[in-house]
Each structure stands twice: as structure tokens, then as C-alpha cells.
């Protein structure tokens, strides 16, 4: 047993307390709601306190509670990431079993999931890994990643480029003052980020120096727009959103906001 004070406290908070809560929860259903709120308070407050109280038991890089908790939460995040898979397997296999509309797509989905997942598990369990092997060849997991996962993801996102062009044609119209400002800023930036004038004057070498000068001016203007009005507006957005998020954080830590636990207000 590791008997550093910070780690002992962590054992009590996140090891003993949940067990006690579980046992109490079996008897008294009210505890099923109370204990998680206590856990949330403790987990949320430790990283904040470690900034204010830089004592060894709390903030020491090796044995402090807060860095240790950080380390735990890497692992918990690892469990959380594939959490939705259980749901997807349940839904897709039900759809396939009942031959619901579009069931072959569910079969394809499950096929992709099981093949890739199985190869991943194989790589992790055997120690072969999921990247390059020692000799520089790809593991089967990586082969699927390179030749199926990557092109699929990249192409699905590339579709957006094409849709955006048609959206620009339809939506970008100078309907009023605000829309006109948007339009002018957008077109200026589009012109200023690429050598558009050089492109247009490519067949006429005589015009090239003027085009280069024009591009330079447009480029500087674009940078000014980005640095000055855009940056100020972004600062406003950042501050506004951050204050909202900070308020929400306090509500969660104090147990006022509890809908993420599937609990109603006051429950």
C-alpha cells in the first residue's frame, strides 16, 4: 500500500466513498443521488485548489493529490471514449435481427466495428501494437486505418467544400447593412489570402508587377482585418463563452446542475 498522505486521501475519496455509497445505495435509494454529488464536488474542486494551495500533499508532481488525480483521469477518459459502442452494438444488432429498414447498413457497420476492434484488441494484447511493426511494415490495424478509415473520413469532410460553394452562391447576398459587411469582409479576405490577381493576369506578363503589388496590398489589408476587428470580436466571443462555461462549472461542482447525471433539479 502506498501511504503518501495525498494518495491515502484519494483512496478514501474515490475508493472507499464509492464503496460505502454503493452499499448504502442498495438500502437507501436516496443515497444513489447524494453520493455522486459529493464525488463530483471533490473531483471538481481538487484541480482548482491545487493552484491556491501548493502544498506537497495536494500539488507535488509525484505524490500530490492533484497530479495523481490528473493521471487517473487519463485512464477514466480512456474508458469513456468507447462508451457509446455498447449502445451502437445493441441498436445495430437489433435492427439487423429484426430486418428493419436499412438493416444491411447496420450489418456493414457491425462488420467494420468488429474487424477493426478485433485487430486493435489483438495488437494491444499480443504487444504487436497498432502502428508500425519493428521491421517497418504496417500492422493489420494500421492497414485498415490507412486504407479505409483515413480516406473515408477525409472524403466525407471534403464533400463540405463542394456544398459550401453552392451555399455561398445562395446565401451570401447583400440583403442589409450587416449582410453587406459580412460579404465585403468575406470577399476581401478570400482575395487577400491567395495570389488571385497574379492568377488572373497570368496570360499577360506585362501586368504581373502591378498584380503582385495589388496582391500585397490586399494581403496587408486582410491581415489588418484579421488582427484588428476580427481579433477584437473573437476576444468578445471568447470572454463571453468562457464566463458562461465558468458559471456552468461552478453549478456542476456545487451540485446545482445535475442533469448530466440523469437527475432532475432538486432530485
Amino acid at each position: 500500500m502506498n501511504i503518501q498522505p495525498g494518495i491515502v486521501i484519494l483512496w478514501i475519496f474515490f475508493g472507499v466513498l464509492p464503496i460505502v455509497g454503493f452499499l448504502l445505495g442498495l438500502r437507501a435509494p436516496a443515497m444513489r443521488r447524494q453520493v455522486p454529488l459529493v464525488l463530483a464536488f471533490l473531483a471538481g474542486i481538487i484541480p482548482i485548489l491545487s493552484i491556491y494551495i501548493p502544498k506537497v500533499f495536494l500539488a507535488d508532481p509525484d505524490i500530490g493529490m492533484s497530479p495523481r488525480l490528473d493521471k487517473y483521469l487519463i485512464i477514466v477518459a480512456g474508458f469513456a471514449l468507447p462508451l457509446g459502442i455498447v449502445n451502437v452494438i445493441q441498436n445495430s444488432s437489433r435492427r439487423a435481427a429484426r430486418r428493419e429498414k436499412g438493416w444491411p447498413y447496420s450489418v456493414v457497420l457491425l462488420f467494420g466495428l468488429f474487424v477493426t476492434g478485433a485487430l486493435g484488441i489483438y495488437g494491444a494484447v499480443t504487444g504487436e501494437g497498432i502502428g508500425f511493426r519493428q521491421d517497418g511494415t504496417s500492422t493489420p490495424f494500421k492497414w485498415i486505418e490507412d486504407n479505409a478509415f483515413r480516406p473515408l473520413q477525409a472524403t466525407i469532410f471534403a464533400l463540405l467544400a463542394v456544398f459550401m460553394a453552392s451555399a455561398a452562391f445562395r446565401a451570401f447576398r447583400a440583403r442589409n447593412t450587416e449582410a453587406t459587411i459580412l460579404l465585403i469582409a468575406g470577399v476581401l479576405v478570400m482575395m487577400g489570402r491567395v495570389p488571385l490577381l497574379e492568377f488572373l493576369t497570368a496570360p499577360f506578363p506585362g501586368l504581373q508587377p502591378a498584380a503582385a503589388q495589388g496582391s500585397r496590398t490586399l494581403g496587408l489589408l486582410t491581415e489588418w482585418i484579421m488582427n484588428v476587428p476580427n481579433s477584437a470580436a473573437q476576444a468578445g466571443i471568447i470572454i463571453g463563452a468562457a464566463l458562461g462555461a465558468a458559471a456552468m462549472a461552478i453549478r456542476v461542482i456545487l451540485g446545482i446542475e445535475r442533469s448530466y447525471l440523469g437527475l432532475e433539479k432538486g432530485e
Partner: protein, 221 residues
């Protein structure tokens, strides 16, 4: 083409997705479902091999005396899956509470310390930092104007956000200025977005031409 099978697979999947541009069709739907499945399977692989094995299983297996507290993390993580177990689904809340509250606690310090304070700091500076009227360009870049723009832009946007419901005559006018700043920013963002999205299309077409078509037909570049 070092791996013709792989390249052909990648090319056919690329074309399958692009077929959506003509219209929605079963080939696209199949590719889409395959993508969803492979992505989820991918999570299993990276989580097990890159996080759980090195950070949880191996430390416990090699030096249990020093790392036994990692069991806490393992149990809290595993608890998240209890939601799929009937009758004791409520136990998942124990893991979820720790997971969500920890990240939101970190988020709190990050937002205040890393976003609100530095961005506010930028709007608190003297205005008499030098103004230049020699040319339009010099004026646009004079430090005084830059400071003023930062103040006006940031606060007018904030006022627009916070007083969007109850607007008096003053806040209404200031909000209007805030909207103008936002519009400049959104317009600029649109210009950038075109660039970003197109880059992805360039990447795919470049792949089809240089990695698939040219090698398949023996075109030397």
C-alpha cells in the same frame, strides 16, 4: 504504388463517398456505415493499446506496490459501463460524476486563467499610445487606434451577448456596433473556411490522381 490493394481500396472508398455529390445512393450509404463502424473499432484499438495498456495495466502488473492506487481509476472507468446493466445502472453515476466534474473543474481554471484574464488584459491599455495621420495605412496601424479598436470591439460584442434580451437605447446602439464587428469577423471566417474545406478536396483529388490513377496507368511525373 507500394501497396496496390490498399490504394485501390482507398480509391474506391473515396469514389463511393464522392458519389453523394450526384445524389444520395446505396453505395454512399454503405461507405458511410463502414466509416461509422471502423471509427468505433478504431477507438477500441487506440484506447486499449495506447492508454489502458501503458497507463493502467502495465504499471499495475510490473510494480503493484507503487501503483496500486491506479485501481481507483480503473474501477471508476469501468463503473461508467454499469449503465448498461439493468437494476444497478445507477452505479454508473459514481464514475460519471468524477469524470465530468474533474474535467469541468479543469475547464474552470483554464477558462478564467487562460481566456478571460489575458483577453481582458488586452482591452485595458492607454489610448494615447501614438496616433499617426500621415496616410490611411499609417492611421490604420497607429497603436492608439489598435488599442481603441480592441476595447470597442471586445466590449460591444460582450454587450451584444449579455444584453440581447433587455435593450435600452444605449445598449441597443452599442450592440449594433458589436454586430458589425461580429459580421466582419464572420465574413473573414467564411473566407478562411472556404480555404480550409477546399484544402480537403485538394487532398482527395491529389490522392486520386497521383497515388492511384497515375501509378495504375504507368504515368511518370
Amino acid at each position: 504504388m507500394t501497396d496496390p490493394i490498399g490504394t485501390w481500396l482507398a480509391a474506391l472508398l473515396t469514389l463511393a463517398v464522392l458519389s453523394f455529390l450526384y445524389r444520395d445512393n446505396p453505395v454512399f450509404r454503405t461507405a458511410e456505415s463502414l466509416f461509422a463502424g471502423v471509427s468505433l473499432g478504431y477507438y477500441v484499438g487506440i484506447v486499449l493499446d495506447q492508454t489502458l495498456r501503458p497507463n493502467l495495466i502495465e504499471p499495475l502488473a510490473t510494480d503493484f506496490a507503487k501503483n496500486n492506487d491506479l485501481l481507483i481509476a480503473g474501477v471508476l472507468g469501468a463503473l461508467l459501463y454499469m449503465r448498461y446493466v439493468p437494476r444497478v445502472g445507477w452505479v454508473a453515476r459514481y464514475g460519471l460524476a468524477v469524470y465530468v466534474a474533474y474535467y469541468i473543474g479543469v475547464e474552470f481554471t483554464r477558462k478564467i486563467h487562460g481566456e478571460v484574464l489575458p483577453q481582458m488584459g488586452r482591452t485595458i491599455q492607454p489610448l494615447d499610445q501614438g496616433w499617426s495621420f500621415q496616410s490611411v495605412w499609417a492611421f490604420l496601424n497607429s497603436p492608439g487606434l489598435l488599442a481603441l479598436m480592441a476595447i470597442v470591439g471586445t466590449y460591444s460584442v460582450l454587450i451584444y451577448f449579455f444584453f440581447s434580451r433587455e435593450q435600452g437605447p444605449v445598449t441597443q446602439r452599442v450592440s449594433r456596433v458589436g454586430i458589425w464587428f461580429l459580421m466582419v469577423s464572420f465574413g473573414a471566417a467564411f473566407g478562411f473556411t472556404v480555404m480550409g474545406r477546399v484544402a480537403l478536396l485538394i487532398g482527395r483529388i491529389n490522392f486520386l490522381i497521383y497515388d492511384w490513377i497515375y501509378p495504375t496507368f504507368g504515368v511518370v511525373t
